[in-house]
């Protein structure tokens, strides 16, 4: 759409105003506040969309206050291929006229005119775009959103002919709706479809369960056939086993009769055996009684002999004890004597040791005395001699003096006076007689004066530098002399000699101190002396007090030897005494043993005599009951009876053994077991047969086959439905995804040129590294500048407003081809922009104005002073 001209009559505060727009560029409409700038676009909106008969608020608001006139608007527009003049008046003398000049001239009035314009606008004007491109003073600073459909439609021609029209939008809605019939928005299987799959799973399980039961029926059927055969065989087998069992039972009964005979004979034999044993026991008992009498007699005799022997042994033991006691008493006496000798020898040895110690103490005392004398001498030297440090200080002072002197002599004048004849002169106030050829030379210290009395006075005075060195020299010399004087030495040599002498004395002193310390060993000399006195008294009194039992040794060595010998003798005697003690103990023990044996022999003799009387009594009692011959005869009779019975039993037993009873018994038991087992098998098989028949009848009654068929049918039906729905769902998904993919691709193709256009204009305003990011509605969401990206919210109000203007300019630049698109309307924007930014924005607007129509409404003409190639209209 292009605005050519608008004419307002009686529209709010505007009585009559016509504005011509630059259709291919920029128009700046300038005017003070309330001049009616905003009314221009309200009027444009009214004329396009409000019928002349309308009495809406918008229309009523357009009527001038307190004037009975109707607002009028005439507009000259081109939109698409149409160009027309359109006029309307509302409220008073209402009317509408339309004159279309292109592409084909048309004239309409009234409602027809309005409807024709509506038709043209619907056909050619993107209303959304038109709204988006207006940046109103009162509007917010949000970025314009250009929907893909709307913007894409505008881009259709300018970009790659990708159609994004309403029909596609509708198609997309239907594709999505179809997709959502099978899938959730998040791409999951919806509950309805999922429940069908669950239903299919359940149906399959139900079918499988029934199939399993059906298979069981078949298996049971086969089992039953087999079971019937088995039962037939088992019944035959049972009959055969019954016959065999009867035969074996008869054989077993015959054998059992023989077994009973064997048992009877065995019982009688056992009884005879017991009687025989009793007779044997009786005879053994008689023999035992006779033997016991004999044994008792023998024991009594032996007891008597044992008693005599024991008494003899006791007598010998008493004698041995007496002898051992005597030998031990003698040995104890010898040991006591040796003990006294040992004590004396030990005291002798100690005496000689004390004498040796006394000699050592006296030696130490003498050495201490000598050392103390040495220390006294050394101390005297130390006291009068200089220390090494003092000597070094004097030597240092002398060195300093010599250095100062050298410096002085080098710096001061040297005066040399040579006597040419004998002459008396006064040098520095001292009269000096000089012979011819004498030379007096001297370094001038301060002033050197030579006076020829009453003839000449020569004064040599040193300069300031020399005087400084002279002072230093004098000070050093004075220092040196003072130190020598204080040390009472003539010079450094003497000082050093004294220091050496002192060091030697100190060494001697220390050596004496070491000797004293060693000899005293931590004590004091008075204690040492006291110890010497004490020891002397002890040694002197020993000899007089010593026993004379044994000779006094001549020296320490002899005392030591005598001690060792006495120790040896003492030890030997002690060992001998222990042996004697042991011998006494042994003799005493033998005595006790002999004594005990005598007692035991006495006791034994009494008991054996008693036993003999008892045995003789018992034998006599037994013989009174049965004499010895009767006992023997009874034994012979019982033995014969037993032999007879054994012969009869052996006879019957051999008959039984010939029958092979164990084998017969085993056969019978086996036959019984087999028969029982077979009967049990038959019973179990019959039970199983009844169970299978019951199960089969039940299966028949349940109609499992029908149930299985029904379950199969149900499963097939559900699976058919699921398969069909899965195919439809997969197809819907494929269509939707493919459709969305291409739609997204088309969208991206729309977005990219717009982004490039915004950035191109942005480069003029912000610099060449300006970049923007767009969302899916092509709305700017962030900008990047100097490699720093900020979201729109983080930007200043001014920058946001500037980007908003740039977006509209970019959109209009792209879409305004062949009369398409819509003009950008900027209503007093850029109020937050600084002057520099206003300048660059002006360049951007100028640049965009070459490709689209731009209308700027402002009350501050200077704000857009940098916009070039603009038509300015002053209200």
């Amino acid at each position: 759409m292009r605005l050519h001209r608008i004419h307002l009559t009686n529209f709010r505060g505007v009585q009559n105003r016509s504005i011509e727009f630059n259709t291919n560029g920029i128009t700046i409409v300038e005017g003070n506040n309330e001049a009616g700038k905003s009314s221009i676009f309200d009027a444009l909106h009214m004329v396009l969309y409000e019928r002349d008969s309308a009495r809406s608020h918008r229309v009523k608001d357009a009527q001038p206050v307190n004037r009975d006139v109707g607002p009028e608007v005439a507009v000259h527009l081109s939109v698409g291929e149409y160009q027309f003049e359109y006029w309307k008046r509302w409220l008073k003398n209402i009317g509408t006229t339309l004159e279309i000049s292109a592409p084909v001239p048309e004239n309409h009035t009234g409602r027809a005119a309005h409807e024709r314009v509506e038709q043209i606008l619907a056909e050619t004007l993107d209303a959304d775009l038109w709204d988006a491109l207006r940046m109103l003073q009162s509007g917010d600073l949000k970025m314009p959103a250009f929907t893909a459909e709307s913007f894409g439609k505008a881009l259709d021609i300018s970009t790659d002919k990708v159609a994004l029209d309403d029909s596609l939008s509708s198609l997309r809605d239907r594709v999505e709706k179809h997709y959502l019939a099978f899938w959730t928005k998040t791409g999951r299987v919806p509950k309805e479809r999922a429940s069908k799959k669950t239903e299919a799973k359940r149906a399959r399980e139900a079918r499988d369960d029934l199939q399993y039961r059906m298979n069981s029926v078949d298996a049971d059927q086969a089992k039953l056939v087999k079971l019937t055969d088995t039962l037939g065989h088992l019944n035959d087998q049972e009959r055969e086993q019954a016959v065999k069992l009867e035969h074996l039972t008869e054989q077993w009964d015959s054998t059992e009769s023989l077994r009973r005979d064997v048992d009877r004979f065995a019982l009688e034999t056992g009884k005879a055996k017991a009687e025989l044993e009793h007779a044997r026991a009786e005879q053994q008992d008689r023999k035992r009684l006779i033997e016991e009498v004999k044994t008792a007699e023998s024991r009594a005799k032996k007891s008597q002999t044992d008693l005599s022997t024991a008494k003899e042994n006791l007598k010998v033991a008493v004698e041995q004890v007496t002898k051992a006691e005597e030998a031990l008493t003698c040995a104890i006496s010898v040991l006591e004597h040796l003990t006294q000798h040992l004590q004396t020898a030990e005291q002798d040895r100690e005496h000689y040791a004390q004498l040796k110690r006394l000699g050592e103490l006296r030696g130490n005392h003498n050495r201490v005395k000598e050392a103390q004398q040495q220390q006294v001498e050394a101390k005297k030297t130390i006291d009068v001699c200089l220390s090494r440090n003092d000597a070094d200080r004097i030597a240092d002072a002398e060195g300093a003096k010599n250095a100062a002197e050298a410096s002085f002599t080098q710096s001061t004048a040297k005066v040399m006076a040579t006597a040419l004849c004998t002459i008396a002169v006064e040098i520095n106030g001292e009269m000096v007689s000089l012979e011819q050829g004498d030379i007096k030379e001297r370094h001038v210290v301060d002033v050197w004066e030579l006076v020829l009395p009453e003839q000449l006075r020569v004064t040599v005075q040193i300069g300031d530098d020399s005087k400084h060195f002279a002072d230093k020299f004098q000070a050093a010399q004075k220092q040196y002399e003072t130190l020598c004087l204080e040390a009472s030495v003539a010079d450094t040599i003497e000082a050093r000699q004294q220091a050496t002498a002192r060091e030697e004395a100190e060494k001697l002193y220390q050596e004496a101190e070491n000797v004293i310390t060693a000899c005293l060993d931590g004590t004091i000399i008075d204690a040492l002396v006291a110890e010497i006195i004490k020891q002397s008294e002890v040694t002197d009194s020993y000899k007089s007090a010593r026993t004379t039992d044994c000779p006094f040794p001549a020296d320490a060595e002899e005392a030591e030897r005598a001690f060792d010998e006495t120790v040896q003798q003492h030890e030997t005697q002690k060992a001998d005494m222990d042996d004697l003690k042991q011998a006494l103990n042994d003799a005493q023990r033998d005595f006790a043993t002999a004594e005990t044996k005598v007692e035991q022999a006495n006791k034994s003799q009494v008991e054996t005599e008693k036993g003999l009387v008892i045995a003789e009594t018992a034998l006599a009692d037994a013989r009174k009951v049965t004499d010895d011959d009767a006992v023997k005869n009874n034994l012979d009779t019982k033995s014969q009876q037993l032999n007879d019975l054994r012969a009869s039993e052996d006879n019957v037993r051999s008959q039984l053994e010939s029958k092979n009873v164990e084998a017969l018994k085993q056969s019978l038991e086996n036959a019984q077991d087999d028969h029982e087992r077979t009967k049990e098998n038959i019973q179990a098989n019959e039970q199983e047969q009844r169970r299978l028949e019951g199960a089969l009848q039940q299966a028949g009654a349940d109609g499992i086959s029908t149930l299985l068929d029904q379950a199969e049918s149900k499963l097939q039906a559900i699976e058919r439905t699921v398969r069909s729905e899965d195919l439809k769902a997969d197809a819907a998904k494929l269509l939707y995804k493919t459709f969305e993919k291409h739609r997204q691709s088309a969208h991206e193709r729309c977005v990219e040129p717009f982004k490039q256009e915004v950035e191109k204009l942005g480069h003029l305003v912000f610099g060449n590294d300006f970049m923007v990011t767009l969302d899916e509605n092509m709305r700017v969401v962030s900008r990047t500048l100097n490699q720093e990206t900020l979201s729109l919210d983080q930007l200043s109000t001014g920058t946001r407003e500037q980007i908003g203007v740039l977006c509209r300019l970019a959109c209009a630049s792209i879409t305004s081809i062949d009369g398409k698109g819509a003009p950008v309307v900027i209503d007093d924007a850029l109020g937050w922009s600084d002057s520099d930014r206003l300048q660059t924005m002006g360049q951007a607007i100028t640049q965009a104005g070459k490709r689209c129509q731009v209308v700027i409404l402002t009350c501050m003409a200077s704000r857009y002073g940098n916009v070039g190639e603009a038509r300015t209209v002053r209200l």
Partner: protein, 379 residues
């Protein structure tokens, strides 16, 4: 001359898993109604008895309600005696339906041929049954049943009708086993005059066996599958030593139709629609289409529309699962029809390319997607 109805393979209780519940119920009803129809036909044709040559029931474990309804239907035809023979589907084993309490209390006009012992059903007329004792007999049961027959028939003018079930060697197409019925043996017995008619079951199409004209399969009274050539009949049999006359009588109302069509144009699709329209009694028709050829998206959409419109009219209408034989190739007309542009056109083109993919599953989904897009764009 003996006159009776020869029928077999009632397959009562049989289900077809592709049928929905309504259609299955209708088919079950029709099978029971066929019994009544046979009873009425027997009366109309002055037949005193009906032999049912095996597979009366689809299975021994069919719902007992099927049994009771069948017995009721037979009871209603009280002037006719039904002789039932156990076949391979309902053998006389321990779980046999014939041993069930319900069958034991059957009507008086229902007789079970449970052994090979001849049954004199009226003076001079004997039935020799060859019941299946289980599903896997080890010998030719019919020949076995006849091996004990005496020569009475030769002397006394007795008419012997053998009632058997199973495949015969002449129709076995090489699949002969120990249990296959020997046509030669039967023809020999017929030639000797020991037997006079062999009523067979197992084959669901009406078929004469051998050259004597005395051995017949009656076929099932209601069709059971697409492969059957002449089902839906019973046979009215007139027989004595000299003459045999067999007359097929249709009683079945259901049809199993398999139709193969090559579709290459919109006209072919429309013709198919007309063919479907022409099928009568659609609620008892089970139709399976074997479609091949190639169609455009528009034609496929039309085909889907036709099939969808008839889906509920037929008892069952389906395409063979081999859907790759009908190739969908989108053409320029399709694009013009839908009038797509922009990214919608790009979408169409990508789907079109995928529809021609070598991956059949992918191609199948893509074709369906194209069809959806066609429908969505057209509406």
């Amino acid at each position: 001359m003996v006159r009776f109805v020869h029928t077999a393979d009632w397959q009562l209780g049989q289900c077809r898993d592709y049928l929905d519940e309504d259609a299955q119920t209708r088919l079950n009803e029709s099978r029971i109604e066929a019994i009544s129809a046979i009873g009425s036909l027997a009366v109309e044709e002055s037949c005193s008895f009906v032999v049912v040559c095996g597979d009366v029931f689809e299975h021994n474990q069919v719902n007992r309600r099927v049994l009771s309804r069948a017995l009721s239907a037979m009871k209603e035809a009280r002037d006719v005696v039904f002789y039932l023979l156990p076949g391979n589907h309902d053998p006389l084993n321990a779980s046999s339906i014939y041993y069930s309490p319900d069958f034991q209390s059957r009507p008086d006009n229902v007789y079970l041929l449970d052994s090979a012992d001849p049954v004199e059903i009226e003076p001079g007329v004997e039935l020799i049954g060859a019941p299946w004792p289980n599903k896997e007999p080890t010998s030719d049961l019919v020949t076995d049943a006849c091996s004990y027959l005496s020569d009475d028939a030769l002397d006394n003018g007795r008419v012997r009708i053998v009632v058997g079930h199973g495949g015969t060697d002449t129709l076995a197409m090489g699949r002969v086993g120990s249990k296959t019925i020997s046509t030669t043996s039967l023809e020999s017995l017929i030639g000797q005059g020991r037997i006079h008619y062999v009523a067979l079951g197992d084959r669901h199409s009406t078929t004469s066996v051998g050259n004597t004209g005395r051995i017949w399969y009656s076929g099932s009274p209601e069709p059971t599958d697409f492969r059957e050539t002449d089902p839906g009949n019973v046979l009215i049999v007139d027989v004595d030593e000299q003459i045999v006359e067999v007359t097929p009588k249709p009683v079945g109302r259901w049809s199993f139709v398999e139709e193969a069509r090559v579709l290459t144009s919109g006209e072919d699709v429309d013709l198919l629609g007309e063919w479907l329209t022409a099928i009568s009694d659609k609620k008892r028709a089970i139709v399976q289409l074997d479609l091949s050829g190639q169609v455009s998206v528009k034609q496929k959409a039309r085909l889907d529309e036709i099939l969808a419109s008839y889906c509920d009219e037929f008892a069952h209408l389906t395409e063979k699962s081999d859907w790759t034989s009908l190739v969908l190739i989108p053409d320029n007309m399709d694009e013009q029809e839908v009038g797509l542009s922009g990214y919608a056109l790009a979408t169409w083109n990508e789907l079109k390319a995928e529809a021609l993919s070598s991956n059949p599953e992918k191609a199948r989904i893509a074709k369906e997607s194209l069809a959806i897009m066609y429908r969505i764009a057209k509406h």
